[in-house]
């Protein structure tokens, strides 16, 4: 017996829309089974994982803190992926955005004025965009594979951050520990509603960015161009769209948003640079982008769900004593089921039994596979 994937001539619009929900439901079922094998009550476990973090105001704030970078990066990546540009280096663009954005509070701490914060955000965007321009340029000029170049630049960015906080930017009053001076008050991204929790304006930026890109993709010619070039580069050429300019555009937008996420995280949630400022947001955002169907509004929901798995993972660790790896496997299962659902929407499985097939049938089939 052999399983074959056959492309469906048409795929159901209904199931395309439902697929993230089916994937989520399958993740819940699979998660419940995992918890059962861990000897935990699955209902209780899922409650701690997905409901408990939503019960208190402070925890909702934390959800926003966690979701903000995921959404910001995710919506930027959607432009890239829709236009067939595989930017895997958002993590690096996030870091460079944070570093460039931190130039003012770290190197010029005496510059204390309201102008500092807007400049920091702007520099963060420019830093991220400039860093993303490297793989874009290499792709346009030398036709290099942007998956590899953007990914490798992540490690460069991580090591650069590591070096700069241990070396030139080390806090002079910090006992030689690897961290920069803490940002002064003018350099801190304010909290949205300080009385109730620490969600900062980065979350608002994320929502605005998602709305703006949703508008761009669904209501403007540029958005049409993105999709045409992504789905059929040839058709895009006939329409007079430049592939190269799209590469640059997509990378600049997604790098800029990743950079904004970086400086927002550093200025809003951490308050200084340290050797590690991201628990892999740039990579998790790839899951977010696909879970959100590459639709900016869907990505808001997906970012919140992914953020919830982090918070839920902690709640479950404390309340049930399960390991932190469970949260990771939840994220993995979610992506797995999303991709699996997508595949089954576009393809159907055909079972062939060579033993029952006649010689003639086999002969007829063989060339098709060659």
């Amino acid at each position: 017996m052999r399983l074959e994937l056959v492309k469906r001539p048409q795929h159901s619009a209904l199931f395309s829309a439902l697929s993230p929900f089916i994937a989520l439901a399958l993740t819940l079922v699979a998660g419940a089974i995992v918890f059962m094998f861990l000897g935990k009550n699955p209902v209780e476990a899922l409650y701690y994982f997905f409901i408990d973090p939503l019960r208190e105001t402070w925890s909702l704030h934390e959800l926003a803190v966690k979701a903000a970078p995921l959404i910001l990066i995710g919506v930027g990546l959607s432009i890239c992926y829709l236009s067939n540009n595989w930017n895997i280096g958002a993590e690096g663009q996030f870091i460079i955005g944070a570093i460039v954005g931190a130039i003012l509070p770290v190197m010029y701490p005496d510059l204390q004025s309201w102008i500092v914060l807007p400049l920091m955000l702007l520099m963060g965007i420019l830093g991220g965009a400039a860093y993303a321009a490297i793989p874009a340029f290499l792709k346009v000029r030398f036709n290099t594979n942007e998956i590899l170049t953007s990914l490798m630049l992540v490690y460069v960015a991580q090591l650069f951050l590591d070096w700069i906080v241990r070396g030139p930017w080390r806090n002079p009053a910090g006992f030689n520990f690897p961290e920069t001076r803490t940002f002064h008050d003018y350099a801190i991204l304010p909290e949205i509603w300080p009385a109730s929790g620490r969600a900062h304006w980065g979350f608002v930026f994320a929502l605005l960015a998602a709305l703006a890109l949703w508008f761009l993709l669904s209501r403007t010619l540029k958005g049409f161009e993105v999709k045409v070039i992504g789905q059929s580069p040839r058709a895009g050429r006939f329409a007079g769209f430049s592939r190269n300019r799209m590469v640059i555009f997509a990378f600049l937008v997604s790098g800029g948003l990743a950079g904004l996420a970086g400086i927002s995280e550093v200025s809003g949630a951490i308050g200084q640079l340290r050797p590690s400022i991201s628990p892999g947001y740039g990579f998790t955002a790839i899951i977010v982008a696909f879970l959100g169907r590459l639709n900016p509004l869907g990505i808001i929901a997906a970012g919140l769900i992914l953020a919830l798995t982090y918070l839920g993972g902690e709640a479950a660790q404390i309340s049930l004593g399960v390991t932190d790896k469970v949260a990771r496997s939840f994220q993995g299962m979610l992506l797995f089921f999303v991709l699996a659902c997508d595949m089954l929407i576009h393809y159907r499985i055909r079972v062939t039994r060579p033993a029952l097939a006649t010689k003639a049938e086999r002969a007829a089939e063989e060339p098709a596979h060659a």
Binding site: N176, Q272, Q317, I318, T323, D324
Partner: protein
């Protein structure tokens, strides 16, 4: 939700009132945040061993919870706050990078006690800091190395050039010089706390340069295993690594957090908890040497004697000591104070390396 919170608060008030008259019925909740997985056989593993000891000694009067692999960044603050809100009476944050997050959350929860390992900020009266004088153990290792090495040069696999590590290298050198003033130490910066591959490479590079003793300030067992393969001697790190080098390990500096955890949780139970800045060594039981092995009896005796001398008050950083460039640092009989040690960013004389910065 609001009513249930109120009911909870009322119950808590009643609970405190009852505790005034009788022994508190509820166990004290002690909570721990680890930077790595508890199975790393190094830093986080040893903290967790301390927690297991705490559970064993205080039995039903204590309830523990932990979060492992919590990144040092925005996540730390949330993790600590979650603990503070989930009814923890005392929260131990066991990595340097949790310093600011610990202090921020402590400001918001004045009734919860916070203990931060290896930091120096105590912004609120409910924050204590604790650390161990690992340099005491490194001095003893230096003494052993100078006795055991035939090449008169030891290899040192270092992690990052922070004061803690620089202090360790200096203590090792001073211990060795107390036996052999011409002893040499070669340093390799692995720039990692835990990377078996890199650490193994560092060990091989050092051995190829002619060292015949390896010591490490990184957490994996790889250098021990390389030393075992090449047939030279080595010192373990953080835990007793004897099973990774039965013929190789001379001794190991074992981090013992258990006694401190027991003491502090008891203080919460007795109501005697106060802010402290503890830096414990041999004397307090924070630093323990694994059994002295694979060495002649006279070296064993000298190692034990050195350990006892430190336990009874000798500070390895006692003058005369020169800096690496030969300029005087400590005069005859002068002892380095703790702030100087905690900010140490220079080598003592005789170290064959340039401090990266």
């Amino acid at each position: 939700m609001k009513t249930s919170m109120k009911a909870f608060a009322a119950a808590a008030v009643l609970g405190f009132a009852a505790a005034g008259t009788a022994q508190a019925q509820d166990p004290t909740k002690a909570c721990f945040i680890y930077v790595g997985p508890i199975g790393d056989f190094g830093w986080s593993y040893q903290h967790h061993q301390g927690v297991l000891q705490l559970e064993k000694e205080l039995g039903d009067t204590v309830e523990t919870a932990y979060l492992e692999s919590v990144p040092e960044g925005a996540d730390a603050e949330r993790a600590i706050e979650r603990f503070a809100r989930s009814g923890c009476d005392i929260i131990f944050t066991t990595s340097f990078g949790y310093m600011d997050a610990t202090n921020k959350v402590a400001g918001r929860f004045p009734d919860v006690k916070f203990e931060h390992a290896t930091g120096y900020k105590r912004d609120h009266p409910n924050v204590s800091t604790y650390n161990s004088r690992f340099y005491e153990g490194r001095y003893v290792q230096g003494v052993i190395a100078a006795k055991m090495s035939k090449a008169n040069v030891a290899g040192y696999i270092a992690s990052f050039p922070i004061p803690e590590v620089v202090m360790g290298i200096n203590a090792f050198m001073l211990g060795a010089q107390s036996v052999n003033p011409d002893f040499k130490v070669k340093v390799v910066w692995a720039n990692t706390w835990f990377d078996p591959g890199k650490e193994a490479d560092a060990a091989k590079a050092l051995i190829d340069q002619g060292v015949d003793i390896i010591t490490q300030h990184t957490d994996s067992t790889a250098p021990m295993q390389v030393a075992a393969e090449r047939g030279i001697k080595a010192f373990g790190q953080a835990s007793d690594m004897i099973k990774f080098g039965p013929e190789t390990q001379l001794t190991s500096i074992v981090d013992e957090w258990g006694p401190y955890y027991v003491k502090r949780v008891k203080a919460v139970q007795d109501g005697t908890w106060e802010q402290v800045d503890v830096w414990g060594g041999f004397k307090e039981g924070h630093v323990v040497m694994a059994p002295y092995q694979n060495m002649p009896d006279d070296v064993k005796a000298l190692a034990q004697e050195t350990e006892d001398k430190i336990r009874s008050g000798f500070n390895p950083f006692t003058g005369p000591i020169n800096r690496q460039d030969g300029s005087p640092w400590l005069a005859e009989g002068e002892v380095a104070d703790d702030p100087t040690l905690l900010g140490m960013n220079f080598y003592v004389e005789g170290i064959d390396d340039k401090l990266p910065n």
